[in-house]
């Protein structure tokens, strides 16, 4: 009952000073809107950056030594023994080998159903790399198993997720052909290929075999420049074309945690192998940019929240100064000093919560308007996001909490001043 009475008094006070309440609510709304807008923008940019530069900061690419005496003498080779030693390093969760196919592969025809996206008469030379199927297991579904068909069917392939985007936004316009149909599910698409055929004169194999490749999935873990097939398929084709085992071109190590990466990289170098840190460096750079961007925007929102708190502090202090007699009366009627404080804090909480809810809505609306404006202003480019904002469910709640929290902080001093009012002297 007492809380209802205090709430009634607080609401009554706000109603009796609508101008001040509106100013407080507006200040809170600005802080909340800024948080929703800026953090939403930071998260959106982060998401766009991660899609543009997909990189796992737990990956370490290990290559053969660039120059080494061991290499000249046949040592330092990146073979299965080396892969096993790399896999046994502390902090390594998996070691996935890659092997480049030494046999040329060319595609004389487009995938079935995508004829319009293929320039007439074009033959496409396809670089092929064999990978450990475990490396892309998380990205490949069950519809097209990613395993060597042993010559009994289409060869499953995995493409870089980014390749489709680049094809659609850059390659297709350059070729003057339509992009991929909207909503296309490419998994399962098949394309005829000629194994052993090269578009470079004189470089084709004596034996050219017609085959088919079938898309098993898309993954950020395969190279942008090549078609990935199962490692066993590469080994089988090397045997078919009597190629000497070239060893692995690369072994990708998966660290248990990002923190394990530096120690793993150091151990790999001690083993005499080279470490390609470009992937991890990209991941770190993207992560840093995203963190700084989001942090700066969130900091700006918190700054606006602090300014809102100052505005509310001034407004509530002025209100307390005007209502000193009424506050003294509450004490005379049985309110404790704590309850007097509570009335002032309730006023701040009510007005800031209302402002916070409104501000969260305004922030969201501004984001929608921003997206519309950017969509019109920016040209189409690879990885252009549909939205530059991300709004997780917690964000509006956090915005209201920021508004309410900053208002409560701002109202602390006025509440304390209200509690210090001496009823005996104020009411006489």
């Amino acid at each position: 009952m007492r809380w209802r009475a205090l709430l009634a008094v607080a609401i009554g006070n706000l109603r009796s000073t609508p101008g001040a309440a509106l100013v407080d609510a507006t200040a809170a709304a600005v802080g909340a809107a800024a948080l929703v807008l800026f953090v939403g923008l930071g998260l959106g940019i982060g998401d766009a950056a991660r899609r543009m530069f997909p990189a796992d900061d737990r990956l370490v690419d290990v290559g053969p030594p660039a120059v080494s005496l061991g290499g000249l003498l046949g040592g330092g080779r990146l073979d299965e023994g080396a892969r096993a030693r790399l896999a046994a390093l502390p902090g390594v969760a998996a070691a996935w080998p890659r092997m480049n196919l030494q046999v040329p592969v060319a595609a004389p025809e487009p995938p079935r159903g995508l004829e319009s996206a293929w320039p007439p008469g074009m033959t496409l030379q396809i670089p092929v790399v064999g990978i450990d199927p475990d490396m892309v297991a998380r990205d490949v579904g069950r519809r097209v198993p990613f395993a060597d068909p042993q010559g009994g069917g289409p060869i499953p392939i995995v493409l870089s997720r980014r390749l489709l985007e680049i094809y659609d936004k850059t390659i297709a316009p350059t070729w003057g052909v339509p992009g991929l149909p909207p909503g296309l599910d490419p998994v399962g698409l098949e394309m005829p290929v000629d194994l052993g055929r090269s578009i470079v004169p004189g470089r084709s194999e004596a034996r050219v075999v017609a085959a088919r490749i079938r898309l098993a999935g898309l993954s950020d873990r395969v190279p942008l420049y090549a078609v990935a097939v199962p490692l066993d398929t590469v080994r089988r084709l090397h045997a078919l074309y009597r190629r000497r085992d070239p060893g692995y071109g690369l072994v990708t190590l998966l660290a248990a945690t990002p923190a394990d990466v530096p120690a793993i990289a150091a151990a790999v170098r001690r083993m005499g192998f080279s470490v390609d840190e470009s992937v991890r460096a990209t991941a770190e750079r993207v992560g840093t940019v995203v963190t700084i961007t989001t942090g700066a925007l969130a900091g700006l929102a918190v700054l606006l929240g602090a300014l809102a708190a100052l505005a509310i502090a001034r407004s509530r202090a002025a209100s307390v100064a005007v209502r000193w007699r009424e506050i003294a009366l509450l004490q005379a009627l049985g309110a404790t000093t704590g309850e007097v404080r509570a009335v002032v804090l309730l006023e701040a909480l009510l007005v800031s919560s209302a402002g916070g809810v409104a501000g969260a809505g305004v922030g969201r609306a501004l984001a929608v308007a921003g997206d519309l404006a950017w969509k019109r202003a920016l040209p189409d480019f690879p990885f252009r996001p549909d939205t530059f904002f991300q709004f997780p469910a917690w964000l509006p709640a956090a915005a209201v909490a920021l508004a309410a929290g900053s208002a409560l902080l701002g109202a602390l001093a006025p509440a304390q001043a209200a509690a210090r009012i001496d009823p005996a002297r104020s009411l006489s």
């Binding site: 009952m1 007492r2 209802r4 009475a5 205090l6 009634a8 008094v9 609401i11 009554g12 006070n13 109603r15 009796s16 007699r325 009424e326 003294a328 009366l329 509450l330 004490q331 005379a332 009627l333 049985g334 309110a335 404790t336 000093t337 309850e339 001496d422 009823p423 005996a424 002297r425 009411l427 006489s428």
Partner: protein
């Protein structure tokens, strides 16, 4: 109901201590209407603040409605004010944002302990508004009431909890003669019903209605 012995109270004016009450002794029994008169600045309101449990900076002993004020903590003093003491002030002191009925209900809403259902509290508030002749003004905010009506709302608020002690500070100061007389009649009626009524005033029309009149001069009651 009210028992004060050797009450002293002084205030600081810079470094100088100004004594206002210099050893006040006061007894007001249940059913008694007592007026304290004195010139402006004589300490009448200060005395009311002390016996109303609003002021803790006094010396001496004060017992109100059986409670020794010095032994009470802030929450207990607040509870005593809400349950046993009613206040009426010269400037009415209504909450401007609340309608008359909710102003009257406010002490009941702020009351601690056993909770009275809101409907019952509202019914009692309507009843006391009827008693002071303002049954039709319950929804009016203070700004829309005349001075006499505001004071009657303040009296209704003071008597809602059927207080054992009613303290009034210049209750007719801002009222015309007819309204003032009505207020004095209400105080006398409350005293007859058993309340200890202490009125500080400088108006003769109030003191002439009191059972006893005490004069506060030089910080002492005589």
């Amino acid at each position: 109901m009210i028992s004060a012995a050797g009450v002293t109270r002084s205030f600081l004016d810079g470094d100088r201590e100004i004594p206002v009450l210099r050893g006040v002794d006061l007894e007001v029994a249940a059913g008694e209407l007592v007026a304290v008169v004195g010139g402006s600045g004589s300490g009448k309101s200060t005395l009311l603040g002390v016996v109303g449990a609003l002021d803790q900076g006094y010396g001496g002993e004060v017992v109100v409605a059986g409670e020794r004020l010095r032994s009470l903590g802030p929450a207990a003093r607040a509870a005593l004010r809400s349950r046993r003491i009613g206040f009426v002030f010269q400037s009415f002191n209504l909450v401007p944002s609340l309608p008359a009925l909710e102003n009257v209900m406010l002490p009941g809403l702020l009351r601690r302990g056993a909770r009275e259902p809101r409907a019952a509290l509202r019914a009692r508030a309507v009843a006391v508004l009827e008693r002071v002749g303002l049954a039709s003004k319950g929804s009016a905010r203070p700004a829309r009431l005349s001075g006499g009506e505001r004071q009657r709302v303040a009296i209704a608020r003071a008597i809602l909890a059927r207080p054992a002690v009613l303290l009034a500070d210049e209750p007719t100061g801002h009222l015309d003669a007819a309204t003032g007389a009505e207020v004095i009649r209400l105080f006398a009626e409350l005293a007859r019903e058993g309340a200890a009524v202490l009125v500080v005033t400088h108006e003769e029309r109030v003191s002439s209605a009191a059972g006893r009149v005490l004069t506060l001069r030089d910080g002492r009651l005589g």
